[in-house]
Symmetry: C2
DNA sequence: TATGCCATGTGGTTGGACCACATCAAGTAT
DNA sequence: ATACTTGATGTGGTCCAACCACATGGCATA
């Protein structure tokens, strides 16, 4: 069993077991690479390959030097694997943009419908709204705030998996849409419309109008991507 | 820019670019590790670290020897990063099981509601139904068929991202629920109920009763996990 | 013609060496 | 006594050279 496994996979399995059995907790440091190599009787190279994978999964984070930021420590960044893997798979053309948009639509409209108006993340959302209302924000800055607003909104439902996925989906095709959106013939008019829609969604959530909020956000997202030339996939019926 | 990047990240970027600009397509082979190392002026070690990451993402697959199965070739397995990363993050206890169940509920009920009754995957689903109806399938086998049935059902909506995520979510907590389910006091009765529910869902989909199918599958999943002791997270309101 | 063997090219693994970096303790100059 | 310098230490980052296991394909041989 152990002998037939690739060396780096053995290390991965070891780390997973250490985490699952609570010997490794978030914030704690892994043993030094050389130490792990000796303990598991594999080369340091294999240990490093495993750590690279864990790093890509958002499970650990490595830092050189000494002190608190050094060494390899356990973190929890569920968005890392989604964002990077999604971008790659999107690049292979085997993951249609329409599917991504449609999925984001589903996740975010659910999140908004189930948002808790008392959630602290809605305060962040409101602050972001005001930042976007500033008359002299440029298109790029607006785009950034826009993304953060949607993430904050989704977090109000309290499901970390759904809000994480939602954000990653947006990121995956962000570069794909950014240029198209900011170079629209009348960006100013578009920005005005987006501002109004954002306020409408936010107000509906705060008023507890779950169904309305959900419909507004769905229309908002669909309109956004339609303008960018990526309509959500037609649902089969 | 290039100089400040970690070596293996440079390789990752190179591969992503090759894929994005269509010089690397699915099914094609990457150059040999030693060749890439020479081309990009990095060590073979760094190339291998990058390939390990791509492998974990389901973007490439490596094989030794000669012939068609040898070398590192580009594949498209979007489920790989979800399944493995989800399992790890679940192990860190920073990804509540309730969130996972709730998300699966959302994805699958959507997929069933938007399923195309003419989809070929529904034929697979039907075959799986019949296999589960065999009186002498044991609990473990039933569980396996059950999982495949739900995946086949989800694929009928035609959104590869949603059906992939759905399957990975189930896998992530599969081990967690398997023991509990098969060791129920009266497994036989549970199996009978599950069979009936499966048929009900399938029939509703085939009849085009989208809304009904969606509600049936939601109740089915919720009941399943409730019996296993993992009720979906209460939605905030 | 049929069989066996080995050259070739692939990824898999290892050990060792060196570098860059950040800290901390010891030593030194003021 | 204080402030500064300096070096020891331990971390990940990188590279190299070698060897292994494996699967094929062509060559030599029976």
């Amino acid at each position: 069993m152990v002998a037939t496994m690739k060396a780096h996979q053995m290390v991965l399995g070891w780390v997973e077991q250490e985490i699952a059995e609570d010997r490794l907790r978030i914030g704690q440091r892994l043993p030094a690479e050389r130490t792990i190599a000796e303990q598991l009787q594999v080369s340091r190279t294999s240990v490093r390959e495993a750590i690279r994978v864990l790093e890509a999964m958002g499970i650990v984070r490595s830092g050189v030097g000494s002190g608190p930021d050094a060494g390899t420590l356990v973190i929890a960044d569920p968005s890392a694997p989604f964002t990077s893997a999604m971008r790659l798979h999107f690049a292979t053309s085997h993951l249609p943009a329409g599917d991504i948009v449609q999925t984001r639509l589903l996740l975010e409209s659910w999140a908004v419908e189930h948002a808790d108006p008392a959630s602290a993340s809605l305060e962040s959302a409101h602050a972001l709204l005001e930042a976007m209302d500033e008359p002299n924000v440029d298109a790029e800055r607006f785009h950034q705030l826009d993304a953060e607003f949607h993430v904050a909104l989704s977090q109000a439902a309290g499901n970390v998996l759904i809000s994480t996925m939602m954000g990653s989906l947006r990121d995956a095709i962000n570069q794909y849409t950014l240029d198209l959106i900011v170079n629209l013939p009348d960006w100013s008019a578009t920005a005005t419309r987006l501002r109004a829609e954002h306020h409408g969604i936010y107000d509906a959530v705060m008023a507890g109008e779950a169904r309305l909020a959900s419909e507004l956000v769905a229309a908002h997202i669909e309109g956004y991507y339609r303008e960018a030339g990526i309509p959500p996939r037609e649902a089969a019926q």
